[in-house]
């Protein structure tokens, strides 16, 4: 991944910064510039908010056939998490055995390496989730 492209997303990747519509109060992660509910009324009214990252697993899969960057981690778990604030995000579940993961399981956020540009490139950090 290109460095500036990752760098721009650091607030969201490290600290789960999303947005809240100043018009209707609905929250979004990742950040949105326009509220899909309020459209024009939300222009310039989207405020940054920080999500806790705690929530529960809506669905998941155990990945066996992985992209190059994830080869060392197979088998690993990916899941869609519903944060306690009601917003959903996709991420990896760590510190959990593949046989223990379940729909409805409570998770909390963790800070991990999420990728790197090869051995000599930049390391990318961000959120993953672990059993709460």
């Amino acid at each position: 991944m290109a460095i500036p492209r990752f760098w721009r997303e650091i607030p969201s990747r490290y600290n789960l910064i999303g947005t809240e519509c100043g018009n209707c109060g609905k929250r979004y992660f990742p950040p949105r510039i326009i509220c899909p509910q309020c459209h024009r009324k939300s222009f310039g009214k989207m405020k940054n908010v920080r999500f806790t990252g705690s929530g529960e697993i809506v669905t998941y899969s155990v990945i066996h056939n992985a992209p190059k960057a994830f080869e060392m981690q197979v088998p690993y778990i990916i899941a869609i998490i519903e944060f306690e604030e009601g917003v959903r995000a996709t991420g990896q579940i760590i510190d959990c055995e593949v046989e223990d993961v379940k729909i409805g399981m409570k998770v909390s956020p963790a800070f991990r390496k999420i990728g790197e540009d090869g051995k000599s490139g930049v390391i990318y950090y961000g959120y993953k989730f672990k059993p709460a």
Binding site: S61, N65, A66
Partner: protein, 389 residues
């Protein structure tokens, strides 16, 4: 708006076409469709090509004029346009062509769909497929394309009791159909035990729950319905086209187990065609994963939500049963050259409606439907075709 007909079809064999380049397969399908329709090259007004990622698969962008050039039409300054909508690229190329003819901008239009996927490693090809999901907020975390569909499957199993066996039966049925299709990548039947025993790709999806990586191209020739008989004895009418979109990332969708874009695109297509799901005799649906076919047959309205797995198990989607789903073998057995898919689906439906499908002919078929998906459901396009016109 005027009525539009398909007057020519052509497709290459799908599979690992090591000895053929992108331009060769594009030309092969195009020439087959042109010769099938008895049109002359100079009559063609425009070319639309569905292609997902030539830029990454073969390091070549701007592929529409490339194909026009090598088909021998560059000299007539033919307008050629590439359409990209991930897995729905082919279907979107068809709808663009359809609208161009329906709106009287063009008369004779060739629609192509092509993808050359085996010039890169399988791992890289899977990464390219994953880029049709949200690269920044899904793929970057290791959510592969199969993994995203696996999460749909897991949730579907959780909510409706769909079983791993029912998923496998989609593959079994499509392989059975594919065995009857001379152009299919896999022309062999596959036992359920084999599907279930395959190594896991993304739980609960095993290797044989996933459509393969393929090379291939397909093409159609369209013209106004009232001129169709000048070019063919057996025109097929495009009864309607419905397209819909949705949130890019799976996690943002209203319901993980429903592809809302399919529901909306299907409703539009049925409305414009003036018919309903029960009028459809055969459908080519986007079975890039076994779970995808189950979602498709529910969301188009052939079966109730949650009953797609059961319907498959009961044989209701088999050839010449309640509704023939993926008579070609689908993406699963016919193969999945991504950008070609939507066009190849139309080729199969037209072939069936003409009564030219040989051993896999759907009896008394009048209406056929194609359902083509981009990403995990952010783009969906549905076409309905009518034969015997």
């Amino acid at each position: 708006m005027r009525e539009v007909a398909v007057i020519g079809i052509g497709e290459t064999k799908f599979g690992e076409l090591w000895d053929k380049s992108f331009r060769e397969i594009g030309i092969e399908a195009g020439l087959l469709a042109i010769s099938d329709s008895k049109i002359k090259g100079e009559e063609i007004d425009a070319l639309y090509i569905g292609n997902m990622s030539a830029g990454r698969f073969i390091d070549q962008e701007h592929i529409a004029p490339l194909v026009a050039d090598y088909v021998g039409l560059a000299g007539q300054n033919l307008p050629a346009t590439r359409i990209e909508g991930a897995g729905a690229s082919g279907g979107l190329a068809l709808s663009s062509a359809y609208m161009a003819v329906a709106s009287e901008v063009h008369d004779i239009v060739v629609v192509g769909g092509a993808e050359k996927m085996t010039d890169v490693s399988e791992v890289y090809a899977q990464e390219i497929l994953a880029s049709t999901a949200d690269q920044e907020w899904e793929s970057v975390f290791g959510a592969t394309f199969a993994g995203l569909h696996a999460m749909i499957a897991k949730r579907h199993m959780h909510e409706f009791g769909t079983t791993r066996e029912q998923l496998g039966m989609v593959a079994v049925k499509n392989h059975k159909n594919g065995a009857l299709n001379p152009n299919a990548q896999y022309r062999r039947e596959m036992a359920l035990e084999v599907v279930l025993r395959a190594p896991m790709v993304a739980e609960p999806l095993g290797l044989f729950d996933c459509a393969p990586l393929s090379d291939g191209a397909a093409a159609l020739v369209l013209c106004p319905l009232d001129k169709a008989k000048e070019y063919t004895d057996n025109p097929v009418r495009i009864a309607s086209c419905g397209q819909a979109g949705d949130f890019m990332a799976l996690h943002d969708r209203r319901d993980i187990c429903t592809m809302d874009a399919t529901v909306v695109a299907g409703k539009k297509a049925f409305k414009y065609a003036g018919i309903g799901p029960s009028d459809i005799n055969l459908a080519e649906v986007h079975d890039n994963y076994t779970i995808s076919e189950i979602l498709a047959i529910e969301d188009i309205g052939f079966f109730k939500k949650g009953e797609g797995g059961k319907a498959t198990e009961e044989g209701k989607t088999a050839l010449n049963s309640e509704i023939s789903i993926n008579s070609s073998g689908g993406l699963k057995a016919r193969g999945q050259p991504v950008g070609a898919t939507g066009v190849a689906q139309a080729v199969e439906v037209v072939r069936q409606l003409r009564g030219e499908a040989g051993d896999r002919q759907v009896k008394d078929a009048r209406y056929g439907l194609t359902h083509n998906v981009g990403g995990t459901g952010a783009s969906v396009i549905v076409h309905i075709f009518e034969g015997g016109v």
